[in-house]
């Protein structure tokens, strides 16, 4: 790794300014290992140096928040002495080169973040982005990523209950793979990633250390196109090992003898140990010679920066070493003391008697410089946003457009995906994938939690502030439609190179929008992940700030799904149809345009709509609830029919051009079905909440019919099911 250049730090991604800072922190020149350690810890991936100041603007507090950002995962209270830990994380760049293992280890990593907190993982979700499916490369990535997620999640026995998949050419060479994990814990079992208590042992547990993934941290922070040739060693996952590790760690936490615990993710042993010391305002001294290794001849540098999976760092109480070993041995795992907590604040690494590195722990974490990159709206946004969408030609055949929309991979059924996931393990899945949000019961209580991940990145591209607000609102709407009260969010902010002002502008605006929506909807941000540099040969992916949201179902017997239930039920639209086509799937598909502004969102209206819907479900007035999103009103209605395997007859009186009425994606709209007896009560409640109410039709028959003054849509349910369910399997099988 020696290099001849005069400024070795530059090759490691550090600037002259940063190098001088390192010298100041150390009071001397860093040695080779130290320089590499700084390079890894100060990489964008580990340090968040360019996003930190922006992220500070998120609302992070609320009575429900037990643990906000800064730990391995956020934690929210759900009453009864119980809490939910949850977090989403990206594994984009490894998935681009080895999609199966990249996705699998992404799942493994996020599961560790959850059980590190003392929580038992109870559900997984994922948010995926690929290029258009007509490209063989995208099909390969899609196939392998899904199978990698399934391979890991199924094997470890945590059900994958939800997610989303979008297809867009900007992701062709840079797919996004974001995985979310949700865990359940008792308040008293909450564990943290701190190292404190002078003399307490520092133990490494789990898998042996190999040479995999070295340089992973700086790798994921670089432009992919440039590094494809470097062929970094990607890691392979071992879900079996992780299952054992999970059981052992949870058993250990129950003993009450754990001071702190942290998984080893990016920058492996280095980041876990210095972050734990830094959080505990302490130091750590450890000997890399004691680390169990898988390969021979590994140098301290390699041991420190290896990203071998399925390893954890544990700081138990002094004297508990044997107890820890006993628990891990029972599960067939090693637990080895490699060092001690000290009080000098120094992260000191030895190899036998030799000191290899000696750095103030905070120097690697808190003292990393923070930047405010330039943010500048690109002027092309003017042209894109102001594109005239008023004079577009109307389609001739609305039936055909609806069928084509249902067959768009982004809209079509994702059964092909989630049937590869074991979504039932743990026997808690009350609402499986396929409805608005997944619902998991909490055994031993009458409660449940509802889970969803959402982001329409086209909206964010067209207007990052609005787009991000919509992502939060849609997530909340999905929860509400299942009967859950939104509690809090986690996020994964996937963007291009932040050094480009136009990219950073998108980033800043998206964070602002997300924050404002979270404030209004009372869903604080409890943690998240930033993934920058999602670019190939200078082309960035669409800005994709994914929102993962958790909600609480107070009475699990009152959950709601999106399927129409019985012949004769009335169909009601809550909210208002608008003449908006900007950013819609229809516009992209039929007119080949990705332009205009995303649909307008009014947070106050949104909130009223959600409160109303929650009340209607809690009172058992709503028999089904479905939010309107991609594909608009017609697609939403079709989905209710498909799920319920029953037809509907709709009459619309709005004076809006048919394309916008049927396919526009105007916000803050929910379709419910109800019996006639409850109609008046629903109307009254809608009036109380100031939510527009319209009775639009009746469930029944085996035909989807939508009549307006200027158009008719009429399709047999059989045909729409065929198109909706067949689209992805057909594409994947040829």
């Amino acid at each position: 790794m020696a290099n001849n250049s005069e400024k070795p730090w530059v090759e490691l991604g550090l600037t002259d300014y940063e190098y001088n800072l390192i010298k100041d922190i150390l009071g001397r020149e860093p040695n080779f290992v130290e320089l590499n350690v700084f390079s890894a810890m100060w990489s964008e991936h580990c340090s968040y140096k360019s996003s930190k100041n922006v992220l500070k603007t998120f609302p992070t507090e609320g009575p429900q928040v037990l643990q906000g950002p800064g730990e391995n995962a956020g934690v929210v209270d759900i009453g009864d002495g119980l809490a939910i830990a949850f977090k989403v994380e990206s594994h984009n760049s490894p998935s681009a080169v080895e999609p199966y293992q990249g996705a699998a280890t992404g799942v493994g990593g996020i599961i560790r973040d959850i059980f590190t907190m003392g929580a038992r993982p109870i559900a997984l979700l994922n948010s995926l982005r690929f290029g258009a499916l007509n490209s063989p490369k995208s099909r390969w990535l899609f196939e392998e990523v899904v199978s990698g997620i399934a391979g890991y999640g199924n094997s470890i026995g945590v059900p994958t209950v939800g997610g989303e998949v979008y297809f867009h050419p900007s992701y062709e060479n840079n797919p996004l793979v974001n995985a979310m994990c949700v865990g359940l814990l008792k308040h008293e079992d909450l564990a943290k990633g701190v190292a404190s208590g002078v003399g307490n042992p520092v133990m490494i547990v789990g898998a042996k250390t190999g040479r995999d993934g070295i340089h992973g941290a700086s790798f994921s922070s670089e432009d992919l196109g440039a590094t494809e040739e470097k062929r970094p060693t990607v890691q392979a996952g071992d879900p079996f090992m992780e299952k054992l590790l999970m059981e052992a760690c949870l058993e250990l936490i129950k003993t009450g003898n754990v001071v702190g615990m942290q998984d080893m993710g990016a920058a492996g042993l280095t980041s876990s140990s210095c972050e734990m010391a830094s959080r505990g305002n302490s130091g750590i001294e450890m000997d890399v010679a004691l680390v169990p290794r898988r390969e021979e001849g590994m140098t301290p540098y390699e041991i420190l920066l290896s990203e071998s999976q399925e390893r954890m760092l544990v700081v138990p109480q002094k004297g508990m070493e044997e107890e820890v070993k006993k628990i891990f041995n029972k599960w067939g795992l090693e637990a080895v003391v490699i060092g001690r907590v000290t009080d000098d604040g120094i992260w000191r690494v030895k190899e036998g008697d030799q000191i290899v590195a000696e750095i103030p722990a905070k120097g690697l974490t808190d003292m990393c410089p923070v930047y405010d990159p330039e943010a500048q709206r690109n002027l092309v946004m003017d042209k894109i946003q102001n594109c005239d969408l008023i004079d577009l030609a109307e389609p001739k055949d609305y039936n055909q457009v609806l069928l084509d929309l249902l067959g768009r991979p982004t809209i079509a059924s994702k059964e092909w995906v989630y049937e590869q996931y074991d979504y039932l393990g743990g026997i808690n899945t009350v609402i499986p994938p396929g409805s608005s949000a997944a619902v998991i019961r909490i055994k031993g209580t009458n409660k449940g939690v509802a889970l969803t991940v959402d982001c329409n990145s086209r909206y964010v591209y067209l207007d990052p502030y609005q787009g991000a607000m919509i992502a939060v609102s849609e997530a909340a709407r999905n929860l509400v439609c299942s009967g859950a009260k939104p509690l809090a969010i986690t996020n994964c902010l996937n963007f291009g190179n932040p050094e480009k002002p136009e990219i950073f502008w998108h980033f800043k605006e998206a964070v602002r929008g997300m924050g404002d929506a979270c404030r209004e909807l009372n869903t604080p941000v409890t943690g998240g992940n930033v993934s920058m540099f999602n670019e190939t040969r200078g082309e960035a992916v669409l800005p994709t700030p994914v929102v993962g949201m958790v909600g609480l179902v107070e009475d699990i017997s009152k959950v709601c799904t999106n399927s129409f239930k019985n012949e004769g039920d009335l169909v009601i639209l809550l909210g208002e149809n608008t003449d908006e086509l900007g950013g819609s799937e229809y516009l992209a598909m039929f007119h080949g345009l990705e332009a205009g502004r995303p649909p307008h969102l009014d947070l106050a209206k949104e909130k009223a709509l959600q409160q109303l819907t929650l009340e209607l479900i809690a009172k058992n007035y709503a028999k089904s609830a479905q939010d309107i999103s991609e594909g608009g009103l017609s697609v939403a209605l079709a989905e209710c029919c498909i799920k319920g395997n029953i037809g509907v007859d709709i009459n619309l009186e709005d004076k809006i051009r048919p394309s916008a009425l049927l396919f526009g994606e105007g916000q803050s709209r929910i379709i419910i079905s109800a019996t006639k007896e409850n109609l008046d009560r629903i109307k009254e409640l809608a009036f109380e909440y100031h939510v527009p109410f319209s009775l639009i039709g009746k469930v029944g028959g085996n035909q989807l019919t939508i009549n307006g003054s200027e158009f008719t849509v009429s399709l047999p349910i059989f045909d729409i099911i065929d198109r909706y369910k067949g689209a992805i399997p057909c594409t994947m099988n040829n």
Binding site: S147, A150, G151, N154, S155, I156, G157, D238, P239, F240, M241, K243, L244, W331, G332, Y418, E419, Q420, Y421, D422, Y423, L424, G425, G426, I427, T429, V430, R441, K443, I556, S557
Partner: protein
């Protein structure tokens, strides 16, 4: 009445079986660790649960079948005790030779999790006597290597002895290849040994034993066992 649920490293279905037996059925139930060399208590029925024992590396169930506890399970079965293998448990039973045949990867090479229909082909077993002969039930499957295989001779024998207990079918009970989710021979979803006390099934009855989960038709496998045992059958002691 006491059930024992065996825990192998890597299985995860044990907690689901435990929950159903204890909370839904109100039975006594213990976990039994794979390294135990004897049963600590007297059991009426032993369950090998689903999951990925030893990661299902090499072949599903291949490493688990050597666990020390399997000697006890074999002895228990030889003495007529009831043994139920679900999913991975079924795979372990075939690897251990307690049931004939073997498992191949699903025909379309993907893991499949979904609800399917099966027809009860034999309701005179300790595990199915609460169903009607020919009854069609919907029940979830979740497996990647669920394609049951055996040679012609064995198949003839299974048929002749009425050892095929469940077959994948349509909702109306039609047995055809297109209702077969994984390519298993003769649409087999479950078989029993000749003696009638060891049953393996790929579908997961413990996952559909409660109304709140949308389907409780699977519960009757467990009520069948209880009924059988209450009838004073040999408990394998």
């Amino acid at each position: 009445m006491r059930f024992g649920v065996v825990v192998f490293p890597g299985t995860s279905g044990e907690a689901d079986c435990y929950h159903v037996l204890k909370e839904v059925m109100g039975s006594e139930v213990d976990y039994i660790w794979h390294q135990s060399i004897k049963f600590e208590k007297e059991y009426d029925c032993i369950i090998l649960p689903g999951g990925f024992s030893h990661g299902d590396y090499l072949r599903a169930g291949s490493i688990a079948h050597f666990a020390p506890i399997m000697e006890q399970v074999k002895k228990f079965a030889q003495n007529g005790g009831l043994v139920l293998g679900i999913g991975n448990g079924f795979q372990i039973l075939t690897e251990a030779g307690l049931l004939p045949g073997a498992f191949l990867r699903n025909k379309d090479l993907k893991f499949i999790c979904k609800e399917v229909y099966v027809r009860v082909e034999n309701n005179e077993t300790p595990f199915t006597n609460n169903y009607e002969q020919g009854q069609v039930i919907n029940i979830p499957i979740a497996h990647g290597e669920g394609s049951y295989f055996c040679d012609e001779e064995t198949l003839e024998e299974l048929r002749a002895n009425n050892q095929i207990v469940l077959r994948y079918s349509s909702s109306t009970g039609e047995i055809k290849e297109n209702y077969n989710p994984n390519g298993s021979i003769d649409n087999i979803a479950s078989i029993i040994n000749k003696e009638g006390n060891v049953l393996g099934m790929m579908p997961h009855p413990e996952r559909c034993a409660e109304k709140i989960l949308g389907n409780d038709l699977g519960k009757y496998f467990f009520t069948s066992i209880v009924k059988w045992l209450d009838g004073g059958a040999n408990h394998g002691k």
